[in-house]
Amino acid sequence: MLETIPLSLDQVAAVAKECFDDGWRQVTMSAVDCGEAGFEILYHYDKDLVMKHYRLSIPKETVVPSISPVYFCALLIENEIRDQFGICFSDIVLDFGGALYLEAEVRAMPFCKVSVAEKQS
């Protein structure tokens, strides 16, 4: 089974900085739509061919701090997640505004799952 380290929202940038300073390479991030439970974002790091994975669980509509000011290479990954899942990142060094793959007028998030929500009275 995949071993992951839980990560809270306010730790994201600090942990990224810590990993950068310790010489970890940022491999990628993986976003998962968990339905009504929200999203999970996994941060994958590598050092000397050993990987570690942080797991961030967030409700939908949460704005996540970008790690691209620390790891420049994260900018494409975060923009891709924004396109596919609609997760917004604050302070991306180069923000495509949801138009990395999609046309600017597209509003649907193609990788989100269809779920049924209770109608608000």
Partner: protein, 408 residues
């Protein structure tokens, strides 16, 4: 000085695939480069919701034609990890052989394209001529030239007979001889050095911090290669990565050229050490489906690779009988995967990573693919500022861009 914004791509004579770069230039010097993607995005990851986990093998093989075998290998290793499957040793060696043949033909393809990028058309044709020999091996042993489709969950769907192994060794020896004849041209020719040395320099620190992978990383002095993790049979082959230190276009092409020869050695070594035994194992797992599902059981006629005119080059020998006994290619998958896994393999362009999440149903919950070109675009954006406009095509090509991989 006034700045000009120049579009580079998505259609450009040098680019094999559609990448658009918005280049800001001052006089003839690039000061900024911004990428635009999305021309060939297909949403293949999303298909895991409508294709079952066995069918996804055929989907991921089509993420990239050039390294289809390695996508399938990475995916299958992930599912096997989740389901706790131990792949037979012979299957691991067969995966290694076909994976390294893919690396050879990919590098030869790139070396040809790279030579063409700076106008060396005869060198381009020489590399592609040698590549045909590797494609013929693929066609003769797998039934297809590019998307070979040999990996299944639990092993491989095809085997190699001793006659086929001997024939492959002969072909590989001739290919090596032909490639070695090109050594002085690709590594020492005045034109090649003039266009590549000192161009698109990526320092050792930059390469690591910007997340470069594959020949990009190794060309900048890092001895890091996913094959060192020992996946497939690499743990038993004593693999050592090839490293160059200058970090320029020349270093990256030298890494790929030397890796081509190294991969041919690995193919020979894998054939020599390949044990006898099964090529696939039956797979159990979580779930309530007790009906074994036979995958890959139907085999079409294997195409004869040497039925075309081969008068333009040396032929070692006609391929041996390619028939595989019925049943030898079937693996039974029982149950469904449940859990998560991260797997990595070394594609020709660099490290490929899959994150898989399965919830015990026949569909994967998430298939996340991080391809090497995706990782190499940020380093490219760092390499371009400061270069001459005339060097942009060579620098872009030096990352070996595969945009269909990148966008999936």
């Amino acid at each position: 000085m006034a700045r000009t914004i120049l579009p580079f791509g998505p259609q450009h004579p040098v680019l094999p695939e559609p990448l658009h770069l918005k280049l800001t230039i001052e006089d003839e010097t690039v000061v900024e480069a911004l990428p635009t993607l999305g021309y060939v995005h297909r949403g293949l990851e999303k298909l895991c919701e409508v294709r079952d986990f066995n069918q996804m093998i055929q989907i991921v093989e089509r993420v990239c034609g050039i390294c289809s075998c390695l996508h399938a290998l990475c995916y299958c290793e992930g599912v096997e990890q989740i389901m706790g499957v131990e792949v037979p040793r012979r299957a691991k060696y067969l995966r290694t052989i076909w994976g390294e043949l893919h690396r050879v033909h990919s590098h030869l393809l790139w070396l040809g394209l790279f030579a063409d990028a700076f106008g060396f058309e005869s060198l381009f044709m020489q590399f592609w001529r040698v590549r045909e020999r590797i494609m013929d091996i693929m066609e003769a042993t797998c039934g297809n030239r590019v998307v070979v489709s040999v990996n299944v969950i639990g092993g491989v769907r095809r085997d190699l007979t001793p006659e086929q192994c001997a024939w492959i060794e002969q072909e590989v020896a001739i290919a090596e001889k032909e490639i070695r004849q090109l050594t002085s041209t690709i590594l020492n020719d005045y034109t090649v050095k003039k266009r590549c040395c000192g161009k698109g320099v990526l320092t050792k620190d930059q390469a690591y911090q910007l997340g470069a992978v594959g020949p990009m990383l190794r060309g900048s002095g890092w001895a890091q290669d996913a094959r060192q993790t020992g996946y497939a049979a690499f743990g038993e082959l004593g693999f050592e990565p090839i490293v160059e230190f200058d970090g320029d276009c020349y270093a990256r092409s030298a890494v790929r050229f030397r890796e081509t020869l190294q991969s041919l050695d690995l193919v020979r070594l894998a054939i020599a050490r390949m044990p006898a035994g099964e090529t696939a194992t039956n797979v159990g797992g979580a779930g309530d489906d007790d009906t074994p599902q036979v995958i890959g059981g139907k085999r079409g006629d294997i195409m004869q690779a040497y039925n075309r005119d081969k008068s333009h080059r040396v032929v070692a020998a006609p391929p041996p009988n390619l028939d595989i006994p019925a049943g030898a290619i079937a693996a039974k998958v029982k149950g469904k995967p449940q859990g998560e896994a991260v797997t990595r393999v070394e594609q020709p362009r660099g490290e490929l990573m899959y994150y898989l999440k399965a919830d015990g149903s026949k569909h994967m919950d998430r298939v996340r693919i991080r391809t090497p070109t995706f990782a190499n675009i940020p380093p490219l954006l760092a390499m371009l500022p400061g270069c001459e406009l005339a060097d942009v095509p060579v620098i872009v090509l030096s990352i070996d861009p595969c945009i269909s991989c990148t966008e999936r």
